[in-house]
């Protein structure tokens, strides 16, 4: 991700198009970008696209 960044700021002209995933370990549903999503609640990599 080429993100113009100060400590906390990025700029993305094309916006961020994430895909929705469900964590198979804790059930959390979240949106993620990138090829290898990680659950934000329990940090599990055992997730399925929904």
């Amino acid at each position: 991700m080429c993100s113009t960044g100060g400590p906390i700021d990025v700029e993305l002209d094309e916006g961020l198009k994430g895909k929705k995933y469900r964590c198979n370990d804790c059930g959390a549903v979240f949106e993620a970008v990138g090829r290898h999503p990680v659950c934000p609640s329990c940090q599990s990599e055992n997730v399925t696209e929904v």
Binding site: T4, G5, D9, V10, V38
Partner: protein, 156 residues
């Protein structure tokens, strides 16, 4: 070229720009906040965290930026296109197993994780995580140098 890098930093610098390279110590979800949504990028243990300073600057600033991501998992806030604050942001950060700098992309416009904006002098320098090392392709000792630092503030 393979450079060993555990939890310290690798500074690669040219005449007027630099990269600071570090590795992610753990696997985690990095939050990215937009004005109306939250998305997460998966960061994996050993992934490279690269801060690029196309116009140069203080490498210590880059180190802090790197730590905000890899240690503190500081959420990144996305500015909408054309935001007046964008021009104040001088350093960019990228997280991926392999990163290819490019000078010919418009800063902040490339959501592809494995590309980072750079100056012309450092474009074409490929970086990839390889076990406890960073593999660097295209390193030209006549035009650039590299320095290794232990964890903690950089002693330059």
């Amino acid at each position: 070229m393979r450079v060993p890098l555990s939890c310290g930093y690798l500074l690669i610098r040219g005449e007027s720009s630099f990269f600071l390279v570090a590795r992610a110590p753990d696997t985690f979800a990095l939050p990215i906040e937009t004005n109306d949504a939250e998305v997460f990028q998966g960061v994996h243990r050993g992934d490279l965290i690269v801060v690029s300073a196309p116009e140069g600057g203080d490498p210590e600033q880059a180190r802090m930026l790197c730590e905000l991501v890899r240690t503190y998992r500081q959420p990144m806030v996305v500015l909408p296109k054309g935001h007046p604050g964008s021009s104040r942001l001088r350093m960019v950060i990228s997280v991926a197993p392999a990163i290819m700098p490019k000078a010919d992309i418009i800063r902040g416009t490339h959501p592809d994780q494995d590309v980072i904006c750079s100056s012309g002098e450092l474009s074409g320098l490929g970086m990839a995580a390889d076990g406890e090392c960073v593999c660097i392709e295209g390193f030209d000792p006549n035009r650039m140098e590299y320095l290794l630092f232990p964890p903690g503030p950089l002693s330059l």
